[in-house]
Amino acid sequence: MSFFPLVAEAAQSSRQGKVLIGPVDLILDGRGTTVVIGPNGSGKTSLLRLLHGAARLTGGQIRWACSREEAQHEMAFVFQRPVMLRRSVLDNIAYPLLVRGVRRSEAMQQARDWAARIGLGAMLERQATVLSGGEQQKLALARALITKPKLLFLDEPCAALDGRSVKEIETILGQAKTDGTALIMTTHDMGQARRLADDIVFLLKGKVHEQSPAKQFFETPRTEEAQAFLRGDILE
């Protein structure tokens, strides 16, 4: 079943009369990693929520190559602050499979494999809520990837993490990409954007200000605002 392209046409999300993001025209073809950057409050989180369907669409439309219901099953979301179910590490990772009706033994086996892949193999029975920030975010990643989504949304996945955790998470993301999961993520870490991005979406005041291949964006940004942002100037 094909999922891509994901097409947003004049898509917009507002809340109590205030436009959070949009109107946005955007096409994701599922090749590689799209990194969304922009100043604080420019609408990065809102854009991800809009494309994922978590935010209410108040204008325009979002389409996939498949129906909306099918698309919902092909997407996963990792939040800036990971949400841990009050269960063991193993039960957390297996959860998405179990709610999809995968047999328990099968789900547990896959969850064990994933726990080993992300380096949590030795703490399967531990309560997820007592893990460190980095461990929780890795768990959240495994839990999102275990359903083999076509598209993974990540909202500042490394915002509060130390260097080693960031590196581990980027490695997992690299593997996910190899396994055929496209990524769309936000970050305020320009180093990370350079390391991971194939495409850049630069947001300003709730609108897509510039969208280009990463190499081009970093080497020859077209707009003055993008140049200023890359220099580290503070944009309103």
Binding site: A54, V83, Y95, V99, T129
Partner: protein, 234 residues
Amino acid sequence: MIDIFDGLIHAFWLVVTLDADLVEISLRSLQVTLTALVISSAIAMPLAAFLAVRRFRFRRFVIAVLNALMGLPPVVVGLIVYVFLSRSGPLGVLGLLFTPTAMVIAQTIIIIPLIASVAHQSLRDLWQEYHDLLISMNVSQTQKIKTLIWDARRALLTAALAGFGRGIGEVGAILIVGGNIDHATRVLTTAIALETGKGEFALALALGFVLIGLSIGVNLLIHSLSRTEREGRW
């Protein structure tokens, strides 16, 4: 003074020797309240989870009603159940008045709002935590409710124990609908009221000991449960 002292000793003796009447009454109390507890939990907990997860127009109203019902005087519940079950009442043909079943019905009605209210608070907090994740996973409404109930199971057990405490110590409603009939509907609280009235302090005190023992036991259980919960051991 001597009377009370004698009574205490006699009461103690009744408990230690497992006096037949005492045992019968205690077991009936447990049977009635535990049955009511199981039924109330089966109704109140899914209801609480539903109220936490689902937004609908009268949600606030239903929650307010539940909280108000928590303070409903048991005697009034007893009266209403009595009216429904009495021979000329709408459910009179069932012939349930003055049976343990009538007592279970009354206790169920008394316990449901308490369990639902306490459970709703914990489930609502948990839902706030889980909301974004479960929505992002496209989890169905029933699965949401199951997940919340399972992950809040310790808090729910505490709610159930609070319900048990309320039921086992309740006297007004079950006296009205049960009638305190010897060997049929006599339970700890109604027996205590009767024996005290008759001046039979020994049996009354012995029954009181059992009741106190049950209450303390339940409270210790609640306490140790909330401790292991914080440690995340189960």
